[in-house]
């Protein structure tokens, strides 16, 4: 069966196509060359006047795993006003800040997203994260395994094990937890918090292991690089949310010795201490540094106003954040000599100085980082805002007038302390296509995603161009997933099961010897039971493993 998308205007940055009218042909879930004249076209969509992009990719969204599920359970009041009824093709669920897995999958697809990546999968909790992702329909999934706070790794660093051994461990974690990348959250800080340490800057030492975040970052970045894991080390840095943290962020960028590194939700790490309130924007300096260091990529973690919930592995800073919980409830968990998690509901208020400035800082970063190939559009769902706000965020980036209108409604002191009003930049459709498609696919090493060239997976989104970009991106006309029409006019019309992207980096199996000993002695789980078998992902015929090559 061949589908023809006829006459649409294509934005396909990976192939250098910027708003060119061209036909696209789909067969067996893939994009194909224009078939022979004789070939039968089974279905043609007349897309004259429509905008075509590949399916969007969310590189950082908390959609599955322990802390997300704890947040769901904790917040019945969050779901109450957004019930989702079952239909003849879709299951029931609920939405808002922490939607049910089923609803999350549908809503992503309805917004034209076809791949979502869970950025904080604890190896100890990986099985559940995968089970939740398996119940997230339509979209492809993948996850980054959390390292850098686990006692095994810190023991290795403390014992000055060589890089090769660390690489073996990192590769083993990737394989045994079925991950696509490695994330580090507050390097060493979650572990230090278990020893009652409340602050850990880049060169502070973990009180027990005597290792610094800097050493952890270098060691893990090196491992990710050496193993040929396409996505650079995904870093949630030190001092999240702490005024003045821009310095540790700048130091982190400098300190990684030129290795590739991805700094996530950098908005939360771009704060200065200027002004009467000792809270100011560090966006200009961060952006300047990112512009200068081509080894660095970032995602923003934009905040948007309203009620949401913060769910993070960073127990140290979630503990501090709990004083601002809204509503006043919060949870923390120390987890399995592995890491931890904290869930703190939060409401960002546009009239609150700090929140309003956070909003402005995120946008300043978007507008001051030059290269859209190294900056990705995220709200750190749900931490900055639920992912359903993306169309609104895109409008803020593409429409200066709208942005300035919004700016005029926020806390006056925050607005006047921000340079946002002076930033004229408006993102083009081409740049949006880069930062939501081509760039994340490239960063993650997904060669057949994020573009519309021959051979690519037919994950395609079709929009009607509209002056109001929120409207345009909120309800795409058509969304195709692996060549199947899954959503039309912003409603799911067909439910499929996405795959799970993973890697198979090489390692010396000898590492398992010390791991068996460690697991028996300390974790008290059998190593064989810790590992997630391939058939657990493909269980029930609902999932499918997509093994991405390492780049070596």
């Amino acid at each position: 069966m061949i589908i023809k998308l006829s006459g649409g205007t294509v934005y396909d940055p990976a192939n250098g196509i910027n708003g060119k009218r061209q036909d696209i042909y789909i067969k067996d879930g893939r994009i194909i060359n224009k078939p022979d004249i004789q070939a039968r076209i089974d279905k043609t969509y007349d897309l004259r006047g429509k905008v075509i992009m590949s399916g969007a990719i969310d590189i950082h969204t908390h959609i599955g795993g322990g802390k997300v599920n704890l947040a769901r359970m904790m917040l019945p009041e969050d779901h109450r006003d957004d019930p989702v009824k079952r239909t003849s093709i879709t299951r029931a669920g609920c939405g808002h800040a922490v939607p049910s897995t089923l609803t999350a999958g549908y809503r992503y697809a309805e917004m034209g997203y076809t791949s979502c990546f869970e950025p904080a999968m604890l190896p100890a909790n990986a099985r559940q994260a995968h089970m939740e992702m398996a119940d997230t329909p339509i979209v492809d999934k993948g996850a980054y395994a959390l390292l850098g706070n686990d006692d095994f790794f810190l023991q290795m660093l403390a014992a000055k094990k060589d890089q090769a051994a660390i690489n073996d461990y990192v590769a083993w974690i990737i394989q045994s937890s079925q991950a696509l990348g490695i994330k580090v959250v507050n390097p060493g800080g979650i572990n230090a918090f278990k020893f009652n340490q409340r602050k850990l800057d880049l060169d502070d030492k973990n009180p027990f292991y005597n290792v610094s975040p800097r050493e952890i970052l270098i060691s893990l970045s090196r491992a990710v690089h050496d193993l040929g894991i396409p996505h650079p080390l995904h870093v949630h840095g030190c001092n999240l949310g702490v005024p003045g943290n821009k310095q540790s962020t700048l130091d982190t960028i400098e300190g990684v010795e030129g290795l590739p590194m991805h700094l996530t939700h950098i908005q939360f790490h771009s704060y200065g201490t200027e002004g009467d309130r000792k809270f100011s924007s560090g966006a200009a300096e961060i952006a300047e540094s990112v512009n200068r260091h081509k080894n660095i990529s970032i995602d923003v973690g934009q905040i948007l106003f309203g009620q949401t919930v913060t769910a993070s592995g960073d127990t140290m800073h979630q503990y501090e954040g709990h004083w601002h919980a809204h509503p006043k409830k919060w949870l923390l968990m120390d987890i399995e000599c592995d890491a931890g998690c904290g869930v703190v509901p939060f409401r960002y208020e546009d009239k609150n100085f700090v929140n309003a400035l956070q909003w402005a800082i995120g946008l300043e970063l978007f507008l001051q980082v030059d290269d859209p190939w190294r900056i990705f559009l995220t709200t750190d769902h749900p931490n900055g805002a639920p992912f359903t706000t993306y169309p609104h965020l895109i409008r803020l980036l593409m429409d200066r007038g709208f942005r300035n209108d919004m700016l005029s409604t926020i806390n006056k002191a925050a607005a006047s302390s921000s340079v946002l009003a002076s930033l004229d930049r408006e993102y083009s459709l081409y740049e949006i296509a880069i930062m939501t498609r081509a760039a994340p696919a490239r960063s993650l090493g997904l060669k057949d995603r994020g573009h519309l060239g021959t051979g690519a997976a037919a994950d395609i989104t079709v929009y009607t161009e509209h002056k109001n970009k929120e409207r345009m991106f909120g309800k795409p006309d058509y969304v195709f997933k692996d060549g199947e029409l899954v959503a039309e006019k912003g409603r799911v019309v067909h439910v499929t099961s996405g795959g799970t992207h993973t890697l198979r980096p090489d390692y010396d199996k000898g590492i398992e010897k010390s791991l068996v000993k460690y697991f028996d002695r300390y974790v008290n789980i059998k190593l064989g039971n810790f590992k997630i078998a391939d058939d657990e992902i493909s269980d029930l015929g609902k999932g499918r493993l997509i093994i991405q090559p390492c780049v070596r």
Binding site: V68, M73, R86, M131, N196, N529
Partner: protein, 425 residues
């Protein structure tokens, strides 16, 4: 069924029969029978080794084909106006199937032990808490307080696996570990055998534990209490314990919601979680809850990710509707607000069917004792014996893949329910 004449040996077998999910069992199989060779507690031995007779599905007590039983179950559910999908003694896939059926049948879903679970969930939803997991306790805790549970009676391997480890990461001097018991009828014998300090025992009624923790909380804050004794406990004892709380490097309070078995025990749980939160201002402290057996924690987790709510969800209006009070399965049974009861017990819990004349559909392992007469009875396989599956441990973090040890002619819960859902038209 394959007939192996030779004995088979399975190692690293996870045990699904309590929520500790010990995964180090060694089990041998000879012909049809299983034998726990190493590392099984009494419950594991009973359930793994229990004879599972071959039985037929029945309708109104008469043997029938599986297909007829499935059709009948679908028919009854279709006719129902308010069904309860209860019991939920099953694995992740069983829960996925149960939720799909609940949605289709517009029923209410709730686990047999949710009364216990909601003692914690109420606190989570209203205030939140600070918790920890097994390996953290094993490696870090220097003060462990057992609140209303001895951890031993219902979780016999807790001490062996967590309290008395051969090694610990943080090199807590084992002799320095202090155990404290607060509550009634607690068996502190295992603590006596532990290498740590002499355990402290504070005897009080279970429903006075909340007041004891409130006092400890007030004392920790530095406020004076003017009553010299609280039940059998002297204020001086509580003052001494307060010193220990404040001095601990990593303190843990363990409770078992199922053993705080009195009305409104969530309020007691909250006194525990609130003092833990407070102590975290100065030092590190965390809670640990022992519960969620018979698939309870698994049911809670799967229901939460698919519906957004932990349990006690009604799909009567087509969307998940949560009410911890009205959609309690126990309450619905007591008030007779049901017209069909659908009950799942594949892990061994006995079934008490209500005596009123409401048709019941029972999916149970063949060995499960049923008190009452189910209208439709379908024998099912046991997860972790007859089929693989996944289950979630008591801390809600770690889950295991269960092994298949033995063939069974009985299908698994997920399989049966999915067929009922298909037949429901």
């Amino acid at each position: 069924m394959t007939q192996d004449t030779n004995s088979k040996r399975f190692e690293e077998v996870p045990c699904p029969f309590c929520s500790l999910l010990c995964d180090d069992l060694v089990i041998s199989q000879l012909k049809d029978s299983l034998k726990v060779k190493q590392n099984g507690c009494k419950l594991a031995k009973t359930r793994f080794e229990e004879n599972q007779p071959r039985v037929s599905p029945t309708i109104a007590g008469k043997a029938c084909s599986l297909e007829d039983a499935i059709k009948e179950a679908a028919k009854i559910l279709k006719r129902s106006n308010q069904a309860l999908i209860g019991g939920l003694g099953t694995d992740v896939n069983g829960m996925r199937a149960a939720l799909r059926l609940t949605e289709k049948a517009g029923a209410v879903i709730d686990h047999m032990h949710s009364n216990a679970a909601f003692r914690n969930l109420d606190v989570l939803q209203n205030h939140g808490y600070v918790m920890t997991t097994l390996a953290e306790i094993r490696n870090r805790a220097d003060l462990i307080i057992f609140a209303g549970t001895d951890a031993n009676t219902n979780f016999p391997r807790f001490f062996e696996r967590i309290i008395n480890p051969s090694h610990s990461l943080v090199k807590i001097n084992k002799k320095e570990r202090q155990l404290v018991y607060i509550g009634d009828k607690l068996d502190s014998a295992p603590a006596g055998k532990s290498p740590g300090k002499r355990p402290i025992k504070l005897q009080c009624e279970q429903d006075d534990i909340g007041e004891v923790f409130s006092i400890l909380h007030a004392l920790s804050v530095g406020l004076e209490i003017d009553k010299p004794t609280i039940g059998n406990i002297k204020l001086s004892q509580l003052k001494n314990l307060t010193e220990l709380l404040l001095k601990a490097s990593y303190g843990v309070i363990v409770w078992a919601p199922g053993e705080l078995d009195f009305p409104y025990a969530e309020l007691t749980v909250q006194t525990i979680t609130e003092i833990i939160k407070y102590l975290n201002r100065m030092t590190r402290f965390a809670g640990f809850s022992l519960g969620g057996s018979e698939g309870g924690m698994t049911a809670t987790q799967v229901t939460a990710w698919q519906s957004g709510y932990p349990s006690r969800v009604s799909y009567a209006r087509g969307f998940p509707d949560f009410d911890a009070y009205r959609f309690s399965g126990k309450r619905l049974l007591e008030t007779n607000e049901l017209d069909v009861l659908f009950w799942i017990s594949s892990l061994g819990a006995p079934i008490d069917l209500p005596d009123w004349r409401v048709p019941s559909i029972v999916l149970a392992a063949p060995s499960v004792k049923i008190n009452g007469k189910p209208h439709v009875y379908i024998p099912v396989g046991i997860p972790g014996i007859n089929h693989t599956g996944q289950m979630v441990r008591t801390d809600g973090v770690v889950s295991f893949k269960l092994k298949k040890l033995q063939n069974s002619e009985h299908p698994g819960v997920a399989d049966v329910i999915n067929r009922i859902t298909e037949a429901y038209r």
